[in-house]
Symmetry: C2
Subunit: 144 residues, 2 copies
């Protein structure tokens, strides 16, 4: 006899939300569960497993689309692992880039804050710093 969950219990057990679960069902990530006599969803352990898989992958920053690919892959257990590997590798690359970028931001915010003389807005280095381009290469020189 399997455990059977209401959507609320499944949300609580998995650490997600009722609305999110219904959303994952609507976009086809979670299979449609059985319904009881009163039309309420009744989930099994299989649903729990699938949901935890999705939540982990989301936590790791994978897009819904990447997760869909992984789920498709796992329904072909004879295929080589290469594609799943590739998805994880791309994600790792992405995460590393995000870290590098955020560290630059951290440094710039630290500088911005340490420069601030705590006077009035007119002298505020926070605003001033944002208004200028120090080492930034995004724009051309101001066109004066």
């Amino acid at each position: 006899m399997e455990h059977v969950f209401s959507i609320g219990k499944l949300a609580a057990a998995s650490g997600s939300k009722v609305e999110t679960i219904r959303y994952y069902e609507a976009i086809g990530l979670l299979p449609e569960p059985e319904r009881n006599a009163g039309n309420q969803r009744r989930y099994s352990a299989r649903h729990y497993d699938r949901l935890v898989f999705i939540l982990h992958a989301r936590d790791l920053g994978l897009s819904i689309d990447a997760i869909r690919q992984l789920i498709d892959l796992s329904s072909h257990p004879d295929m080589p692992c290469h594609d799943a590997d590739e998805i994880a590798r791309r994600q790792l690359e992405d995460v590393r880039q995000r870290i590098a970028r955020l560290k630059l931001l951290e440094a710039e915010l630290e500088r911005t804050l340490s420069d601030c003389s705590h006077g009035t807005i007119a002298e505020c280095k926070v605003i001033e710093t944002l208004a200028q381009c120090g080492a930034c290469e995004r724009h051309q020189r101001p066109p004066r």
Copy 2:
């Protein structure tokens, strides 16, 4: 005599996009520019400055709402700097948390990939890892 830009030139000079500029105008972050006889937007250096301010702040991860607050602040130059300071400080805190979180993800993805035996999907550690909760505290124990 001031430089005057078309929206396309402003986009190119600032490193943003035409649509983004119109969007910032629509939500009230950029003041409405003058129009020429043919109803086309004509921007001045003031607009360029404001746009660069916004783009920098967005690059630093500030929300549109935080930027709006900073702009409001800067129109009251006599107020103390404290509020602007606080916005930057909160943002720094946020960036640091994001870095910490991403580093955990990086480690988990590295582990996932190094475990992968490159066999078939059935043995794929990438998928397996996502399906389990190793050290994760998000959910309760599986309810079997």
